[in-house]
């Protein structure tokens, strides 16, 4: 489980890598929590290097989206591999979290 971050003003880009599954979901959650600061208004989660997401990973993503929403910040997701995108769609996550094809598109959407 790797996560690297980059901050530009109130935008935080977090790149995850590897698998977001039952074994490392907690580690992913901890990594996100320590990366996000109260001043971040937008978090772009770049999942290009993520090869697998199960419901345990989805749970962490949903919790993160809810936590951000509670303080009027938002989560965007980009660069999903095709089978992962399908899992997001089945779960209805594409209706509650904006999903973009790549990082450039996600950035463009926030102006």
């Amino acid at each position: 489980m790797e996560i690297s971050t980059e901050r530009e003003g109130s935008l935080l880009v977090a790149r995850a890598g590897g698998r977001l599954d039952s074994i490392n979901a907690r580690e992913f959650d901890d990594a996100l929590k320590s990366a996000i600061s109260e001043s971040d208004q937008v978090l772009i989660m770049d999942l290009e290097k993520v090869s697998y997401v199960s419901s345990a990973g989805l749970r962490v993503i949903l919790l993160t989206a809810k936590t951000l929403q509670q303080r009027s910040a938002k989560l965007l997701i980009c660069s999903l591999a095709e089978p992962i995108r399908e899992v997001f769609e089945i779960s209805g996550f594409d209706k509650i979290i904006p999903i973009h094809a790549d990082l450039a598109a996600a950035r463009a959407s926030i102006g």
Binding site: I23, L62, K66, E82, I90, S91, G92, I96, I97
Partner: protein, 135 residues
């Protein structure tokens, strides 16, 4: 055909995943199929480990039967009687972010990704059979 007897702990997921990857590679499964089979197995096995037992030391039997048109996954465990197909709550996947409850997606994903699912309780064991068409 793949048969594994897993211990009821999360680390065992790595063993089943490696075995499924080997089989998928040998049979040249498309990436989507490999992903979905791994996901289905993780969701079912994690459910059994988390909710089926009080304490460890239990065994979960997994069989994967690969035929030209279908993949059949059979999972049997000696945990408490639980039919995930009818007893697991269905998540509201149309709810907005605020109202969306956390969790409940595992079994829903399994049911969405397979073509047939059957449960039976027999001789103090749960038997779940999942069939996925290879198309």
């Amino acid at each position: 055909m793949l048969s594994l007897c897993l211990e009821s702990r999360l680390e065992e997921l790595q063993r089943i995943e490696a075995a499924v990857e080997d089989l998928g590679e040998r049979e040249q499964w498309p990436p989507n199929l490999l992903y979905q089979v791994k996901l289905v197995l993780e969701e079912v096995i994690v459910n059994i480990i988390n909710y089926g037992y009080e304490g460890g030391g239990h065994k979960i039997d997994v069989h994967l039967i690969s035929e030209p048109d279908t993949l059949t996954i059979k999972i049997a465990d000696d945990g408490r009687a639980f039919d995930p197909l009818s007893q697991a709550p269905t998540p509201d996947v149309d709810a907005n972010l605020e109202d969306r409850p956390i969790g409940g997606l595992g079994v829903y994903l399994v049911q969405s990704l397979v073509d047939e699912a059957h449960y039976r309780r027999e001789q103090h064991r749960n038997h779940l059979t999942l069939v996925k068409r290879r198309d």
